[in-house]
């Protein structure tokens, strides 16, 4: 069986950044496994610009951003296999993959980085009544059809869900000559970035109806119309608010879920993000298996994916070089989600082995104004930052310093909360 220091599953932005940073941290025996025919992951279909401003100080499109990282992988001659699907990982880091040239093959790795990205929630998960006519697409599928295959899924479009991919597709379909009639969002706020609402809806006078959902889809063979209605604060449609739009296409942009079937095979424990529960090194409960990018938690900005993945790559390199240190991590401290916080990544820290400073990423539960991001080590407040507006669609982060938590005792916890003061 082939042996390898580090196997990275997925060649999207997370996998690429992890590979580059592991290499630069001294690990040269790396293998990236990617099921698609090219590296770059989902960025290849995200042709709009706005990527990488924080990393490269210029506005790039998805493929341009990906190519910066692909070039670095090529420069370092890091090995990768395309058209290669990983189908199993075991607890002792044996990876099983399959491709047309080699058939089924096994690799024994010292460390594994999970970077499989996420997939879209489907209509099945949504419970929309009615027949199953043609003309219902997930926004990501539509993105792939239009941008990579040059095929326009329809002419008159209603979009359910205001996630970023849905917003971006509203503009894209408009460019291609389709009429986007309305975007309906179940929640009282949009799940997408503000800039996408401005650039993709406002610029083209496409209405965004918050607290609205689809209650009926008309048409047997092909969609002929969609009825939406306003919902009350329990999510129930309000009688008398129904509006019917004639259309031939319904796009669903109702969220992404991390793709973790493989992680579960390896015995990796998943948390509230539907991604692995990780510690300060982005290591899962299975020693030597790390996770980063959308497989860990859904990111809205690829810059943060690259940053996080770079850190995972470095951690994996440390693990390979010094397994002993990772075996005896010292005391483990939980990071608790306090008021208005849905989740944090990481979920635990080991002050003895952590870097001087790590990034904690988190999302809130709802839209709030004029709050403070507070972090407590035991009962001492160690982070206090004003946030004029927070929303579930925009990830927050702060730096957690080793110095602030090194004296915590095993039974003490770290708490992160958004509070009035």
């Amino acid at each position: 069986m082939r042996e390898c220091d580090l196997v990275i599953i997925g060649g999207g932005p997370a996998g690429l950044a992890a590979a580059i940073s592991a290499f630069d941290s001294g690990i040269k025996d790396i293998l990236i496994l990617e099921r698609d025919k090219e590296l770059g992951g989902i960025l290849n279909q995200c042709i709009h610009n706005g990527f990488g401003l924080h990393t490269f100080k210029e506005e790039l499109t998805g493929p341009e951003y990906a190519s910066r990282f692909i070039d670095k992988v090529l420069e370092r001659k890091i090995e990768y296999k395309l058209g290669t699907m990983v189908i199993d990982i075991s607890k002792d880091k044996e990876v099983v993959a399959i491709n047309p040239e080699e058939g089924l093959f096994h690799i024994k790795a010292k460390a594994v980085i999970l970077a499989m990205g996420c997939r879209e929630r489907s209509r099945g998960a949504l419970n929309i009544p009615g027949y199953r006519p043609a003309g219902i697409f997930s926004a990501g599928t539509a993105q792939r059809l239009v941008n990579m295959e040059g095929y326009l899924p329809g002419r008159e479009v209603v979009i359910l869900g205001s996630g970023d991919i849905g917003l971006i597709m509203a503009r894209r379909m408009t460019y291609e000559g389709a009429k986007v009639k309305v975007v309906a969002e179940l929640m009282p706020y949009s799940g997408g970035l503000k800039r996408n609402i401005v650039q993709c809806l406002d610029d083209y006078d496409i209405p965004l109806k918050l607290s609205h959902t689809v209650i009926d889809i008309q048409g047997k063979e092909r969609v002929t119309g969609v009825t939406i209605a306003e919902v009350d604060n329990t999510g129930k449609p309000i009688k008398g608010t129904e509006e019917t739009y004639s259309c031939d296409t319904l796009l669903l942009s109702v969220g992404l879920i991390p793709e973790n079937e493989l992680s579960e095979m390896a015995g990796v424990e998943l948390g509230i993000t539907s991604g692995p529960i990780v510690n300060e090194s982005l290591e899962t409960n299975v020693p030597g298996i790390f996770a980063c990018g959308n497989v860990l938690h859904v990111h809205d900005l690829v810059d943060y994916v690259s940053e996080e993945a770079g850190f995972a790559g470095k951690s994996a390199a440390h693990f390979i070089e010094d397994q002993k240190k990772f075996e005896d991590k010292g005391i483990e401290i939980q990071i608790n989600t306090g008021d208005k916080v849905r989740y944090t990544v990481p979920k635990t820290v080991h002050p003895d082995i952590m870097e001087d400073e790590i990034t904690v990423r988190l999302r809130t539960t709802n839209v709030f104004k004029n709050v403070y991001l507070n972090c407590y080590a035991g009962d001492k407040r160690i982070v206090h930052r004003k946030r004029p507006v927070i929303a579930p669609g925009e990830m927050e982060n702060f730096q957690l310093k080793k110095e602030d938590i090194k004296d915590l005792k095993a039974e003490e916890i770290i708490t992160v909360a958004f509070e009035e003061e």
Partner: protein, 138 residues
């Protein structure tokens, strides 16, 4: 004096700006960086956007190549840019930065490729494609 609430779109942070217009005096607040200030001023005087789209590729490993305007175009010209590209296609190989259409819609701005597309390896017809050995899996 006029006040306009805008969202800066210069980067994905999307800061909320308040632009105050008082005759020739324009003031911007709420921005995190200089780009936000410039955006606020420009948005009320001469709004512009970068347009991104795709065009067909012949002979490439991909069917289409993504592209963008090499700079900002006036907001009200966006649809003209798209229209001007309806007949445009390009032959592989294409490299990032290649000009696909110069002076698109008379804006003085070019359309450039944003993805590398290499040439298809061979032009064999499907029936002539050499048989690969596909090992049976599992």
């Amino acid at each position: 004096m006029e006040k306009r609430n805008l969202t800066c779109i210069r980067c994905p942070l999307g800061c909320s700006l308040v632009v105050t217009i008082d005759g020739d005096n324009i003031d911007v607040t709420g921005n995190t960086c200089k780009r936000g200030y410039d955006y606020g001023v420009k948005e009320v005087t001469n709004p512009t956007r970068v347009v991104t789209t795709t065009v067909p590729v012949s002979d490439g490993v991909d069917l289409r190549v993504s592209c963008k305007t090499s700079g900002d175009v006036p907001k009200d010209k966006m649809i003209d840019v798209i229209k001007d590209l309806t007949e445009v296609s390009i032959n592989a190989p294409v490299a990032i930065g290649d000009v696909i259409k110069a002076n698109v819609a008379n804006t003085g701005i070019d359309i450039v490729a944003t993805k590398n597309v290499s040439k298809k390896k061979s032009n064999l017809k499907a029936t002539e494609v050499p048989k690969h050995e596909y090992k049976k899996a599992i």
